[in-house]
Amino acid sequence: MNMTELAASRDGYGNALISMSGDPKLVVLEADLGKSTKSCWFRDKFPERTVSCGIGEQNMMLVAAGLASSGFKPFASTFAIFTERAFEQVRNGICRPNLPVHICGSHGGTHTGTDGSSAQSIEDLAIYRSLPNMVVMHPCDDVSTEILTKKLLEIKSPSYTRTARNKTPRVYDLDDSRIQIGKGVKLRSGSDVAIIACGVMVSKSLEAAKKLSERGIEATVVDMHTIKPLDEELVHQLASECKLIVTVEDHSVIGGLGGAVAEYLSENIPTILRRVGVRDRFGESGQAEEMLELLKISTNDIIDSVLEIKEKV
């Protein structure tokens, strides 16, 4: 873990498409945002296998479904927020027939910044998590995004992967063998509290853990890049070992990573939990770091949450 280099997870998606191009069944679909989601890198090299759908996300999702039904492996991307416009198409046309269409929603979360709340998807993980058959992921850096995207070729169900626009510290070294769909990765070990994070908040959680260590609190930090299926075994183990859990996500506290962990814990191993996430409100225009502070999901907010629940025991 170097954390010194910066990269955007959306670049990992673009790289993955190129490195999967040897598969003749791979097709890439775009809805006028290829330059943003980085599918444009594939289009430049393989225009004959790239399908432009214009600004028409509802159509794109079902074109992808039709391709999948005929044996192709479609990867469709747009902004996270615009995938939501096609929610019912995804629900009825992709998930219900369980067609392996892989959706990438880039520019997810409030971290996307100055476009303001219209572009800041804070509910995508929750809504896609509610769909049967769907795999839902939110990787933390370009390396893990590339590895996880490539692993989607091995699964037979549909998936949604949220990537981020802005550069954040690279967490993984290339070819990290721990990165598997459905398996959380323990990036740091400590017995006082477990911080379970996803996406851009993983590096923030590592920063928070470092600062907590200076105060004598040792935190485990887990990159829970797969929200569904949730790595329940790991969550159970963390609850047994650390007794206190904090979840961290650039997403609503309702229904996303925090929701998934809360559901598991309350049914199986009731544990003191604090969810760091967006508290049922919309964002606004601002720089990424400003948004995290405004919405109380910054590094300091993670630290405060840990201190708060430490006081409870």
């Binding site: 097709v27 432009s52 028409g56 074109v63 039904s69 005929s70 192709f72 198409q89 046309g93």
Partner: protein
């Protein structure tokens, strides 16, 4: 042709045979909806002549091998009109006639709306309007990528095309010049609540498709000769996407259902059922 008995028939004999198949399907449609006391008879009866000709004379399909990769695809986008689809699938041998008794019954293969996970011969799980054309574009692109000759047929309803995503798909099909994509538009002039005209005025439907760059042909959707010729036109017209606009009568074949918005989604009572069976020659 799937039904070997139709091979080599003259035009008039073929039309006669097709009308007879459609008559038998109409009986099954009414029986299914009556047994279930639910479902959509009106749109099933308006589409059945079109489906009969399509399945009997045109689709390259293998009923005993429903997942044959190089089969033509047929997508019933107006997926609630499933009794029509199940009736023709049974006639073709994809499913058994006894399977029709499972329409809307728990554990049955004939779901309320057509579903590819349940019924052999169903290529898309429809039921939510406005989705089939986009799915069909995916199938047509796949055929192109595979260098295959397989064609894709999509049936839409005239009420259904009020869904905005249909117009996204119409643009995309032309943009990609999908000559292997064929739409059959069942214009029965009635939707759930009332006549199409009262719910959302469509003005000239042919002009709308023409303005999107599609090849357009209009037919009487209950004249079997016109239907067979129209379907042939669809198949042979491979310069860009084509639409066959079929003017039909909702509830066609059962007097009290014809042009009656009440029978978009309602089952006949016992007396009405007996009358329908009599009118259909059962």
């Amino acid at each position: 042709m799937v039904l070997s008995r139709l091979n080599g028939l003259g035009d008039d004999e073929l039309v006669g045979e097709l009308n007879e198949i459609a008559r038998k399907c109409r009986i099954e449609i009414v029986k299914m909806v009556y047994r279930a006391q639910a479902g959509h008879p009106g749109g099933s009866l308006s589409e059945i002549d079109l489906l009969t000709a399509l399945y009997s004379t045109q689709l390259r399909i293998k009923p005993k091998e429903p997942k044959w990769h190089d089969r033509d695809r047929f997508i019933l986008s107006k997926g609630h009109a499933s009794p029509g689809m199940y009736a023709i699938l049974a006639e073709m041998g994809f499913i058994q006639h006894t399977d029709l008794e499972s329409y809307r019954v728990l554990g049955g293969i004939c779901q309320g709306h057509v579903d590819m996970k349940f019924t052999p011969g169903v290529d898309f799980s429809a039921g939510s309007l406005g989705m089939g054309l986009s799915f069909g574009i995916g199938c047509a692109l796949a055929s192109r990528f595979d260098n295959s000759e397989r064609e894709c047929y999509v049936m839409l309803g005239d009420g259904e095309i009020q869904e905005g995503s249909v117009w996204e798909a119409m643009m995309a099909a032309k943009h990609h010049e999908l000559g292997n994509l064929n739409v059959i538009l069942d214009c029965n002039r009635i939707q759930n609540d009332d006549f199409v005209e009262s719910q959302m005025r469509m003005f000239s439907i042919p002009d709308k498709w023409i303005s999107f760059g599609w090849n357009v042909k209009e037919i009487d959707g209950h004249d079997m000769k016109e239907i067979v010729e129209g379907l042939r036109w669809l198949k042979e017209n491979n310069e860009g996407p084509s639409v066959l606009i079929a003017n039909t009568i909702k509830g066609k074949g059962v007097s009290y259902m014809e042009n009656n918005p009440k029978f978009h989604g309602a089952a006949p009572n016992e007396e009405q059922y007996e009358m329908a069976m009599k009118e259909l020659g059962e």
